[in-house]
């Protein structure tokens, strides 16, 4: 086999970034994994082997159980609303050809903010003693937003109540407000990519607008939905900044997530091994979404 000059060049260009990624991404993932199996729960490093002790501790920990519950509900609601709203808005934009660009920019703009900014802004907006909430009090509604400790549709699981924490809804609102623009942009791109001939053909066959969307356009948008789910899933499973800025852990940890717990455990409590274990579990949670997608797209490619 003879390597052409182009191939050689490509290899040479790839090598540096390949090496950097191997060291600084996979190397450090490995290092984190190794720390998570150690006894390093003090200020100074102690790399003696502890086995799965740190993981066993976490799964018996009330706070971590609450974190997992919160992550599940946050992820489901967040992704659900981002897809529904993004798709809905994209279809509306698709119908209004004229102001399309203007609306697209308006909806895309929140994306330019960081989650920390979003968190602080929404914390003010939902503050029980300001603005809109005082207005609600005129009608006798005492909004509690992110301080509510109630769990909707709850049932007991281990030592914690499983169900949707009401306070989480406030965080979901803020997150959806920020990320809907992204899914909107994805869907608009997808809709533009669908050739007009297909719609025309469907119309000639006597399909209504609604039928065109249901039978022709939506199925063609499936790959877009897949991408949105993957991108949103990894954002929501490792979310930290929004919650840290907006609510903190919340009363009874109703808005706590693994990211916040990892930060406090590691950098406040100096439990490095426990923190590393949380980080590894977060990585595995993301992998649950990403790996099937990778396998699927590989299969599609070959």
């Amino acid at each position: 086999m003879k390597i052409t000059r182009d191939q050689l060049m490509a290899l040479l260009f790839l090598t540096p970034s390949f090496l950097l990624i191997v060291i600084f991404v996979y190397g450090f993932i490995g290092w984190t994994g190794w720390v998570s199996l150690s006894n390093w729960n003090t200020l100074m490093p102690d790399m003696s082997f502890a086995g799965l002790k740190n993981y066993i501790y976490l799964f018996g920990d009330y706070r971590f159980q609450a974190d997992l519950r919160n992550t599940v509900f946050f992820t489901i609601l967040f992704i659900g609303f981002v897809i529904i709203l993004g798709l809905g808005l994209a279809i509306l934009l698709d119908q209004t050809k004229k102001a399309n660009a203007l609306f697209r920019n308006i909806f895309l703009f929140p994306m330019a903010l960081s989650f920390v900014v979003t968190g602080v802004v929404w914390q003010w907006l939902l503050n029980p003693s300001t603005g809109f909430n005082q207005f609600l009090q005129v009608f006798g509604i005492q909004p509690k937003w992110y301080t509510d400790t109630n769990i909707l549709a709850g049932f007991q699981w281990g030592s914690i109540e499983f169900g949707l924490p009401v306070a989480m809804i406030a965080v979901v609102i803020a997150a959806v407000w920020q990320m809907t623009g992204f899914s909107l942009a994805m869907y608009v791109a997808g809709l533009t990519g669908i050739p007009d001939e297909l719609r025309e053909a469907a119309r000639i066959d006597g399909a209504s607008e609604l039928q065109i969307y249901r039978k022709v356009i939506l199925p063609m948008l499936t790959p877009i939905t897949m991408s949105v789910v993957i991108i949103m899933a990894h954002i929501s499973l490792k979310i930290f900044d929004l919650i840290y800025a907006m609510t903190g852990s919340g009363a009874n940890f109703v808005t706590d997530v693994p990211g916040v717990y990892m930060f406090e455990t590691t950098f406040r409590g100096n439990y490095y091994a426990n923190g590393a274990a949380i980080a590894i579990i977060m990585l595995l949670l993301v992998a649950v979404f990403i790996v099937p997608y990778l396998i699927n797209s590989r299969r599609g490619a070959s």
Partner: protein
Amino acid sequence: MLKKSLAFLIMFIFMIALVACGGDDETTDDTGSTDDQTEDTTDDAAEEEEAESSGDGGSVEIFSWWTGAGEEDGLLALIDLFEEKHPDIEVENAAVAGGAGTNAKAVLATRMQGNDPPSTFQVHGGAELNESWVAADKMEPLNDFYEEYDLMDKFPEELIDMVSKDGNIYSVPVNIHRGNVMFYNMEVFEEHGIEVPTTLEEFVDVLAQLDEAGVTPLAMGDKEAWTATQIFENLLLATLGPDDYRALWEGEVGFDDDRVREAAEYFETIIGYVNEDHASRNWQDASQLVGEGEAAMTNMGDWAKGYFSNDLNLETNVDFGYFAFPGTTEDFMVITDTFGLPKGVEDPDTVKEFLNVLGSVEGQDAFNPLKGSIPARVDADASKYDEYGTDTMEDFQNSNLAPSLAHGSAASEGYLTKANQEVNIFVTQQNVDQFIEKLQQIAGDL
């Protein structure tokens, strides 16, 4: 020809990568810097130049998290004083902003683990110093320093105990804050004819009385759990008394003690009287309720005094008053910032010069009035402090000192993290049995 240029290109990419990695060290200190700090850095640069031009007497790097309004002023005043006395020594202010010291502590841990300690660093006296840095064998004993500068009788004995381990002294305290203070709205107290409570029974009566009158009796802002932990530690001090309270953290009194349960039961009662939206407020928001007369009292360290007078423009002993947490009238919950000498520092003598200025009457009086704390020395100049300061200085000298849990003096940071976690759960669930059981479980991390 092509190969050569390609090789150059790759070299170039590698160099960029190396520069990017190497740059990390320098930028770490600036992480999370605010506008305040930018100003501060320019000041620094000027100061450094000045020092450099006047000779080479070594340098001292001062690591702290004092970047907020009053505290930064205090630190800069201290540095100015030092530079006046030692113009040949270069001072580097390595303050790390944000998160009540969380960011700074993370940076410090990284540097200590990498054997790159700052010349001297801010650390709370008590467990935060003794159980972490001293226990890890990272600090130099300062006994000789105390002897040399005749400091042994300039600080209260209990305070020196807090910065000592196994007979060795490891740091020099610069300031004192008090954690067991209740601030109250004087108008509200007057309106409802309330006397200042001195015991826990009276306190609970007052809470009930205010509640009936339709005022929120106690303002709490436990968005960060330490404010609630602070109430609990004051209750422990009240029920156990100062000696057994200290013994609790040394493992000599167990958490199964009846008086710990009594404290937890009081805690449960008191939480019944706090503002409903406590979980969405921080301590400033809670203090604001008191300032505006919507709530009667709040328990906070004496930095709240600065918030009342500077931020809310209220007058001491006219608009707001203060008294010791009921049941702890004779006691003083100490929060003290101290500076020590890490092992492996290049020029320990220069650092000692700085510690000497920091420990002197002059140094403490330059720093504390600006920071809003009181001096750790007992012989400081009382005329430099306001009414609250002089009151507190008097209390400090006449009270039993107790280390604060919520501020890292009584137990390790690790224990505190877990204790805050249990307090957060308790505040919502109010299950005394479970709380006691959990406290016993985590006692192993003390």
